[in-house]
């Protein structure tokens, strides 16, 4: 069925996206090692240690997880309705 192929194509695209996003977030753990112009003498917000990094990773993780859950939810609901219409 055409829709089955479409649903599969969404998932075939979504799965690598999820993996790539997870890899990006994990690999971004190397960010603290990056040189930061203008932050040679950390002060104020810039001098709060590693905590800001966790907040950034949490924010990006929440965003990608909510998007992927939404994509999955619509794909699942579409598949269910399509099956019931076909049955």
């Amino acid at each position: 069925m055409i829709w089955d192929r479409l649903t599969r194509s969404v998932w075939n695209a979504a799965a690598p996206v999820l993996v790539a996003a997870a890899l990006l977030v994990l690999s971004a753990a190397g960010l603290p090692a990056q040189e930061m112009p203008g932050l040679d003498r950390p002060s104020g917000l810039a001098g709060q240690g590693l905590r800001p990094y966790w907040h950034v990773f949490a924010a990006y993780t929440i965003a990608i997880v909510l998007v992927i859950v939404w994509v999955w939810s619509i794909a699942r609901r579409l598949r269910d309705v399509e099956e019931r219409l076909g049955g």
């Binding site: 055409i2 829709w3 479409l6 194509s9 969404v10 695209a13 979504a14 996206v17 790539a20 996003a21 990006l24 977030v25 690999s27 971004a28 960010l31 990056q34 930061m36 112009p37 203008g38 932050l39 950390p42 104020g44 917000l45 810039a46 001098g47 709060q48 905590r51 800001p52 990094y53 907040h55 950034v56 949490a58 924010a59 990006y60 929440i62 965003a63 990608i64 909510l66 998007v67 939404w70 994509v71 619509i74 794909a75 609901r77 579409l78 309705v81 399509e82 019931r84 219409l85």
Partner: protein, 230 residues
């Protein structure tokens, strides 16, 4: 556009939006320069602002189609409003969770009852009410009409949210893009933000079309069930 065409376009735009999101994540983590005053936490900006923009776009679209539904009573407009409202809630939730993560570092607190935050939370609750009102009446038509009114009232709040940082004393940063004198962001930050805005918008449009197609199929299923009973 037929349901089949919408699914095709919806799938294509969704895949494009997800690929755009990968690019945005790469730009945010590895390409854009770190803001000198705020440091690394400023990077939350590249998901927070586009999520806010997309949620306002979705709620605005919901209000527009709701208004047209009240006028024309075309079921397709109600389906479009529902699809847009669901997308708006997803992106508003991203906005309302990523903002406090930035606020904890920048302000020292996750939440403060300042005008923009309070109005945005109110908007989220109004659209939560949109879904509750739809299912609260025995007559589905009445529920849809009530929900349409809620959507219009909710969307009227959006300009106030944007202007609240100008009109009131606010902890929230002033606009850096939509300003009378133009954007104030450096080039690489502006490019990252625009890429993110594009990816979020395309993703929303794709998912909107798929969600609209879903509602179309549901109504087809309902009609078929009613015919079978009769």
């Amino acid at each position: 556009m037929q349901v089949k065409g919408m699914r095709r376009w919806g799938t294509a735009l969704t895949v494009l939006g997800l690929l755009g999101l990968i690019l945005v994540y790469w730009m945010s983590f590895f390409w854009v320069s770190t803001e000198a005053t705020q440091g690394i936490v400023q990077r939350i900006f590249y998901v927070h602002v586009p999520a806010a923009w997309t949620s306002f776009l979705a709620f605005g679209l919901c209000a527009l189609t709701s208004g047209m539904y009240l006028w024309l009573r075309d079921e397709r407009l109600d389906r479009a409003a529902l699809a847009a409202a669901e997308g708006g809630m997803v992106f508003a939730t991203i906005m309302l969770t990523t903002g406090p993560l930035w606020g904890k570092i920048a302000w020292g607190t996750y939440w403060t009852w300042e005008p923009r935050l309070t109005l945005t939370l109110l908007l989220w609750f109004i659209f939560l009410g949109y879904f509750m009102v739809r299912g609260s009446t025995e007559d589905p038509g009445k529920g849809k009409r009530f929900a349409a009114v809620v959507a219009i009232v909710g969307a009227l709040e959006i300009p106030f949210i944007h202007l609240s940082v100008i009109w009131f004393r606010s902890l929230h940063p002033q606009p850096v893009v939509v300003r009378p004198d133009g954007p104030t962001l450096p080039g690489d930050m502006f490019a990252t933000l625009m890429t993110s805005l594009g990816a979020f918008t395309v993703l929303f449009l794709g998912m909107f079309l798929l969600r609209y197609a879903l509602e179309g199929l549901k109504s087809e299923l309902d009609a078929r069930t009613r015919r079978a009973i009769a």
